[in-house]
């Protein structure tokens, strides 16, 4: 490295290569993305947000909500699940012995312990998971054998992982989920729970509004700051609540004939949160959403 030009050239090639790989490559691959098809459905994904929810994304951005919340679900794998849904004319005890007799089938042999443990102590509650694991041959074999004796089962593919077990979503997040987001606010810290599917968990706008105004009125031990500046206190007209006034528990409610009403920004933010529903199966993140009777 004797001249400035050689340093320039080295830096140019190094950064140029990563620019080509990590900027140009993804732009080519994802930049032209369009709506994709939802698996086993004629619907398209993602769904365009309503006007309020689109504006709400900007409230979410402006207040830096992504500093403490992520909008991405991680998945560690997928599992095949088969569960009883209808026993038909059979009793639970009969089925247990019937299934025990099936364990000589080559596909099932390796899983006989697992299935026996799953059924131990079962006395007919429904739906009852018979097998949950990586092997789909077990699922189809059990389904076929049980169908033959008139027992209904459902077979599903489910995503696995701690995020999904927490109920934060039904599958991993994929690039397609963010097609209509500008800016894309993925977040990198879970000081608060993941919000990728908050609209599925808490679809009630009034719940969202009350939670924004006084988080601890709904979630004990919540560490979320209250966003009271998105609301305004006003005097009740003739002692009656306004149509959109928050219904608050007594320890959070205002006194002296005052009430709390959300500003348009609060309503937009709540509409955005309710619109967050990454709950449809896609080609790159499949799962079985609907019960399929076998």
């Amino acid at each position: 490295m004797k001249t400035g030009f050689s340093v320039f050239w080295a830096a140019f090639v190094a950064l140029g290569a990563s620019w080509f790989g990590l900027i140009y490559g993804p732009l080519k691959q994802l930049g032209g993305a369009k709506e994709t098809a939802v698996l086993q459905s004629t619907e398209k994904w993602p769904v365009q947000r309503t006007g309020d929810a689109t504006l709400g994304l900007q409230i979410y951005r402006a207040n830096g909500c992504a500093a403490c919340h992520t909008e991405q679900i991680r998945q560690t794998g997928a599992a095949h699940v088969i569960a009883f849904t209808d026993l038909g004319v059979h009793q639970a005890a009969d089925l247990k012995s019937f299934i025990a007799s099936l364990m000589v089938v080559p596909e099932l042999m390796n899983y006989s312990n697992v299935i026996t443990v799953n059924l131990a102590g079962w006395s007919g509650e429904m739906p009852k998971v018979l097998y949950r694991g990586a092997d789909d041959a077990v699922v189809s074999m059990l389904g076929d054998k049980l169908k033959a004796v008139g027992v209904k089962t459902e077979a599903r593919v489910v995503a696995t992982g701690a995020d999904i077990a927490r109920g934060w979503g039904t599958r991993q997040s994929v690039a397609a989920d963010y097609l209509y987001d500008t800016p894309v606010l993925l977040g990198s810290l879970r000081a608060g729970p993941d919000l990728a599917s908050i609209g599925v968990r808490s679809p009630d706008i009034n719940w969202q509004l009350q939670h924004l105004y006084a988080p601890r009125s709904l979630v004990k031990n919540s560490t979320m700051p209250a966003f009271r500046f998105l609301f305004k206190a006003q005097k009740k007209v003739d002692g009656k609540d306004a149509a959109d006034a928050l219904v608050l528990p007594i320890e959070f409610a205002l006194t002296d004939g005052m009430e709390v009403v959300p500003t348009p920004e609060a309503k937009q933010l709540a509409a955005y949160l309710v619109s967050l529903k990454a709950n449809v199966p896609l080609y790159e993140a499949p799962f079985t959403p609907i019960t399929v009777a076998k």
Binding site: V7, A14, L30, A33, N63, G64, A67, D181, T223, F227
Partner: protein
């Protein structure tokens, strides 16, 4: 250039040529450092007392945290780094600063840009992209200011007497190009009217974040350390053959890191980053060895002086880089992603590595440039201990808390409230560290302010003396 034109300049002359630009850059940087650390504490207050800013939108956690981060990077680290870079280039060239008025203008543009950007974040006009929160008005100013300073720096480099480049030249010169390209690209794509659709935005943002926080800060910090360590230790830089190797591997591998393993993007992107992170261990370890060998056996007592700052900073570089790269190990990322760990590592890179080296360099340069002793030399020593203690107290609880939080997040049987509760315990400790850091930054500011005032008073005195001096009246012959 015609060698006969070259005149040998004394160190004093070179230092004097840097005086005004460096005061303009360092003064603002020190002020933004104080503000950035203070805003960082404000952001953390929301975790200790959630409703503290419930009625004040400007200081809520999300806005204050973004503003604090940007103040530390764009407000403090960048102008300070550019000032040190200008001085090192002038010294290495044995020539006064070329176009000395340009960096003065640029410094003012830069600080106005930071002011606009920070105000925009606090009133809710941030762009929302991490580390790119400044809106267009601020970005244009920062970019123009950087280009102006780069022009002056490159022109100074061109004036050098000894045509052979010193290792610091490689690192610092590459850093100039690095910022212009990565910051320019990211802003052109993301802070424009038609940003690309969907997940690409996140990828561009991760690319920029890595290229600023890991590669750019790395180039700057290591470049500066490789100038000062041998100088203060009075021995040559160890293994300069390895230095070239370390430089090339850092820029070729380091720049591909940055896509988190959990990213909702096609799987080849995180995989590339994981592989690059593994390869990036090579330059980090190589740089660590070079610095160690250079410092080892040096008979210099530092006790809080610039040497201490820079040694601590180099240790910070190795440790923070190793911690940073570990986030890209697929197995580790399952625990570390989405926890306070990432925040802790970033703060270590910014404060414990770059911040330390820059403060050390400022304390080393200021007395030479101003041609007088530091006005509060004891504060400067105190600064070191406050920064070193503060960084460790700030960052280590975040790292441990992050791992613990990650382990709990991974176990779906643990309720979510418990994962935030465990982090909260560590946050209380880390806020104490932030207070120490803030006190440390309050040691730097008066030194620079006092020197600026002394210099301005000196200027005023010269002017007054000139005005008061009796006019020379031409003798009239009768």
């Amino acid at each position: 250039m015609n060698p006969t034109e070259n005149k040998i300049f004394g160190a004093n002359e070179i230092d004097t040529s840097c005086r005004v630009p460096l005061l303009a850059l360092f003064g603002g940087a020190a002020l933004w450092l104080v503000l950035g650390l203070a805003l960082g504490i404000v952001a953390m207050l929301s975790f200790h007392k959630p409703d503290i800013f419930a009625d004040c939108p400007f200081l809520n956690c999300g806005r204050a945290q973004a503003a604090a981060n940007d103040l530390l990077l764009y407000g403090f680290a960048m102008p300070a780094a550019l000032g040190v870079l200008l001085w090192i280039f002038a010294r290495l060239s044995q020539s006064p600063l070329a176009l000395p008025i340009v960096p003065v203008i640029a410094a003012n543009l830069w600080h106005v840009g930071v002011l606009i950007g920070t105000s925009a974040i606090l009133i809710g006009e941030s762009t929302g992209h991490p580390w790119l929160e400044y809106p267009r008005a601020a970005v244009v100013l920062l970019f123009a200011a950087f280009l102006l300073i780069a022009v002056s720096a490159v022109a100074t480099m061109g004036l050098r007497l000894n045509r052979e480049l010193y290792p610091s030249h490689w690192f610092l010169f590459a850093a100039l190009l690095w910022f212009v390209w990565s910051y320019g690209t990211a802003n052109l794509f993301l802070v424009c009217n038609h940003p690309p659709r969907g997940g690409v935005q996140a990828v561009i943002n991760w690319w920029l974040t890595n290229n600023l926080l890991f590669v750019w800060l790395g180039l700057i910090g290591v470049g500066i350390a490789f100038y000062f360590l041998p100088k203060i230790a009075s021995k040559p830089l160890a293994n300069s053959g390895y230095t070239l190797f370390a430089f090339l591997t850092l820029i070729f591998f380091g720049t591909w890191v940055g896509i988190p393993q959990s990213a909702p993007v096609p799987a080849w992107l995180p995989t590339v980053s994981a592989f690059a992170a593994l390869l990036s261990l090579v330059p980090v370890i190589a740089i660590g060895i070079i610095a160690w060998k250079t410092v080892c056996g040096a008979k210099v007592s530092c006790l809080g002086g610039p040497f201490c700052f820079i040694k601590f900073g180099m240790l910070g570089f190795v440790v923070s880089s190793l911690l940073y790269l570990s986030e890209f190990c697929p197995r580790a990322s399952r625990v570390l992603d989405f926890t306070w760990y990432n925040f802790g590592v970033t703060q270590w890179q910014l404060l414990g590595f770059a911040g330390m080296i820059l403060c050390g360099a400022i304390y080393e340069i200021l007395p030479r440039v101003m041609d007088r002793e530091l006005p509060f030399a004891k504060l400067a020593k105190l600064n070191f201990f406050l920064f070193a203690g503060g960084t460790l107290l700030f960052v280590i609880p975040l790292l441990i808390g992050g791992v613990e939080q990650g382990l709990k997040l991974r176990d779906a049987a643990v309720p979510f409230a418990d994962t935030s509760a465990v982090a909260l315990k560590f946050l209380r400790l880390s806020t104490t560290g932030q207070l120490l850091l803030l006190l440390g930054s309050l040691c730097l500011l008066p030194n620079i302010l006092a020197m600026t005032i002394q210099w301005k008073l000196g200027l005023a005195r010269t002017v007054i003396a000139y005005i008061k001096s009796p006019l020379e009246t031409p003798e009239v012959k009768l």
